[in-house]
């Protein structure tokens, strides 16, 4: 009953929101001279306040790139922490201009909840972690093993599907919370631990000896995470989309935070010249000037640099790029042509 009521309210609200969705976010952001960015209340690696009280993380950097492209300053951001239940409504009702907060791109959200997804910035998904001493290098070698999982989530079903699809036997041991499941795995109750990759990486850092735990490369569920904007404001959606494509393309072309100005001055590659505003007029397609991508890259670096800053080899997470690698290296990061 309560649920139906909430649904009813939500439907009504979305109708209202959709009718009001014509507002021009880009003009609003420029007029206010600040980007209102929805972030999480703390997801390790993606967005959390650091010791100085500054929001940092992978999702935050995506927002900073947009702020730099639009306003010329990555710090012109008003951060709004959003609880998981608010993250969609906050965008559809216009409380925030952009939500960059580990949100899985699903059909229902995209089609029915008054929001649009932009680009997948992180392909998350369920994976396995095992102890190093087990000498396992692929999840397909886990035949006959036991895996610690969290109760009441899809992870349990996903494990069963994975086992069936690969014709192996996997026994699941169910726990109430991720932490419990992980500490059970540490204490040797199961041979493997399974949940979303990014969470395995973050839990692993809490282990007494993180180096003893290996994350296996297989990802067997789809959790594509994407920033989201209000449904119907196509100009704003295009802008966010192409700023992120720009960061991905920049990695492919070897443009980094350090060399972006040098590339702009010297590069002979016509694509690079277009991206960095030396030739052509791509900035005007987004109602921006031609230095839009230069500013974004100066602020956060290319996609690979952002990834490595939070998840790369030097960090506590040390999460393999996997699906998040460029398409040229076997991943899924593929920017549409900038021209």
């Amino acid at each position: 009953m309560q649920k139906t009521l909430v649904c009813l309210f939500a439907a009504l609200a979305i109708c209202l929101a959709a009718s009001a969705a014509q507002a021009d976010t880009l003009e609003k952001v420029k007029a206010a001279d600040v980007l209102t960015l929805g972030v999480s209340e703390g997801v390790p690696g993606f967005s959390a306040p650091d010791s100085a009280g500054k929001w940092t993380g992978f999702d935050v950097d995506m927002g900073r790139a947009v702020a730099a492209a639009v306003l010329g300053d990555p710090d012109k951001i008003k951060y709004v922490p959003l609880a998981s239940k608010q993250k969609v409504v906050a965008v559809s009702s216009g409380q925030v201009d952009l939500t960059s907060r580990t949100t899985t791109w699903t059909m229902k959200r995209d089609a029915k909840q008054g929001i649009d997804f932009t680009v997948v910035v992180f392909y998350d998904g369920q994976g396995f972690a095992v102890k190093k001493e087990a000498g396992v290098t692929s999840a397909k070698q886990l035949d006959g093993a036991s895996a610690c999982v969290t109760a009441g989530t899809t992870s349990e079903l996903n494990v069963a599907d994975f086992a069936r699809a690969n014709n192996i036997k996997l026994e699941t041991v169910v726990f109430e919370s991720k932490k419990e499941a992980f500490s059970a795995f540490l204490s040797g109750r199961c041979d493997a631990f399974t949940t979303d990759m990014s969470q395995i990486a973050s839990l692993r850092t809490t282990a007494p000896n993180p180096a003893d735990i290996v994350i296996l490369p297989e990802v067997f569920s789809k959790e594509p995470l994407s920033p989201l904007v209000k449904h119907g404001d196509n100009q704003w959606k295009d802008l966010v989309t192409w700023v992120i494509y720009g960061l991905i393309e920049a990695e492919e072309k070897g443009i980094t935070q350090a060399n972006v100005l040098e590339m702009k001055a010297k590069s002979q590659d016509p694509t690079v010249q277009r991206m960095l505003g030396v030739s052509g007029d791509v900035g005007s397609f987004l109602n921006l000037d031609n230095d839009w991508l230069v500013r974004a890259i100066q602020a956060v670096g290319n996609y690979g640099e952002v990834y490595n800053r939070y998840f790369g080899p030097g960090t506590t997470f040390d999460l393999p790029r996997g699906l998040n690698d460029l398409w040229t290296r076997g991943g899924l990061m593929y920017a549409m042509p900038i021209r």
Binding site: A13, L16, E41, P44, Y79, K85, G94
Partner: protein, 387 residues
């Protein structure tokens, strides 16, 4: 004991020795032997143990079980919290030690206190905190007259708002940057200061003779009391903005604060109503006979008595409100508890949730216990005055 006049004593017992009279003869009088000392098993620490912890097999068993429990729990706890704990250094040093990482609290202290407030301006919430502490001190030790106190208490939130929010000479700091203990205390303080008068008005309204006023008050109190605070917060934070025109934005914190005031007022109203019901009808009759109007009668005769009756419950509601502020995390406001949670999600400092929660528990306990003691002292003072 029969009283023997002193003047008669010499007559009954002459000073001269008289061997044949049955007067007092100290030498032969019965002198009770001094009481034996109690058996060693009944006094001293041993006796205490026997009387309190080991009287009967059941208590002895309980004592032994409790001691076994303490012996199992306390030494590891002490070594975790103190002996093996890290107090200085950085995250890597914490990772090597097996004890608690209090360094984490030291590093995150400012974030826990004021959230993502700009560090350069952090003196402003600190000053607001000092003002609040001064006011609490002045009130607790009765350094000021009651009227001055009331005015200052009402000015305090405005001063704090100006200090924290900026404007009029201070650089403005957006509400999205407020957080930590500052936010919790602010929400609770404003909530308490506004909801007590609102609650009193609602309670009076509910007992009003005008049907429309009564209906209105019941119409506010009962629905609000009928839903959990979380529902109100969700409505205020998630649903409400959807019904506003897009160019009209009321900030999230204000919406949540109004929601909390609404919720707290409804509860306060019911507490105060209990007090109103306990004031004898003779009091109102007497007030009327003196020619007092409705408001004067309530203000000078009924409410002082009613509020005195319900002081413990009112203090209880205030403590509950302070603790309820921790619910705002579900609508994305990072209060003290929320900040502790968020801070423990910092990639550099993962895995220190326990320390963060223990610190939170300690601070919450200090605040709530302080409020409770203060409430008790007001009770004693007013009870004394009532006599």
């Amino acid at each position: 004991m029969p009283h023997v006049p002193d003047a008669l004593a010499p007559l009954a017992c002459p000073a001269a020795p008289c061997s044949d009279t049955p007067c007092a003869r100290p030498a032969e009088a019965f002198v009770p032997s001094p009481a034996l000392p109690p058996p060693p098993s009944a006094v001293g620490p041993l006796g205490w143990l026997r009387a309190n912890l080991f009287d009967g097999w059941f208590n002895s068993l309980l004592t032994l079980l409790c001691m076994a429990f303490l012996a199992a729990v306390v030494p590891p706890l002490v070594s975790w919290a103190l002996l093996d704990a890290c107090f200085t250094g950085d995250a890597s040093m914490c990772a090597q030690s097996s004890g608690a990482c209090w360094t984490f609290i030291v590093h995150k202290f400012r974030v826990l206190m004021v959230g993502t407030y700009p560090p350069a301006e952090a003196w402003r919430p600190a000053l607001a905190g000092v003002l609040l502490a001064t006011m609490v001190g002045c009130t607790a030790w009765r350094r000021l007259r009651a009227a001055a106190l009331a005015v200052l208490w009402l000015l305090l939130p405005l001063a704090a708002l100006w200090l924290v929010g900026g404007g009029a000479g201070l650089a403005p700091v957006d509400q999205s940057q407020w957080g930590g203990l500052m936010l919790s205390v602010g929400l609770a303080l404003v909530g308490i200061l506004v909801s007590i008068p609102c609650g009193v008005l609602l309670a009076l309204g509910r007992r009003s003779r005008i049907a429309a006023v009564r209906a209105l008050c019941v119409g506010i109190i009962e629905p609000v009391r009928g839903v959990p605070l979380i529902t109100i917060l969700f409505m205020a934070s998630v649903m409400f903005p959807l019904f506003l025109p897009p160019d009209m934005q009321i900030n999230n914190l204000l919406r949540v604060q109004i929601g909390m005031i609404l919720f707290s007022s409804a509860y306060m109203a019911e507490v105060v109503r209990g007090g109103l019901a306990a004031v004898p009808k003779g009091q109102t009759d007497a007030a009327k006979a003196l020619g007092l109007g409705y408001w004067k009668m309530q203000a000078f005769v009924v409410l002082p008595q009613a509020l005195r009756h319900v002081l413990p419950s009112l203090v209880g509601r205030c403590i509950a409100l302070l603790k309820d502020t921790s619910l705002v995390i579900i609508v994305g406001l990072l209060d003290f508890l929320g900040m502790a949670k968020a801070a423990s999600q910092d990639q550099q400092w993962l895995g220190h949730d326990a320390e963060a929660y223990i610190f939170c528990a300690l601070v919450y306990w200090l605040l709530c216990f302080g409020m409770s003691r203060w409430g008790r002292s007001i009770e004693r003072r007013t009870a004394h005055r009532a006599r």
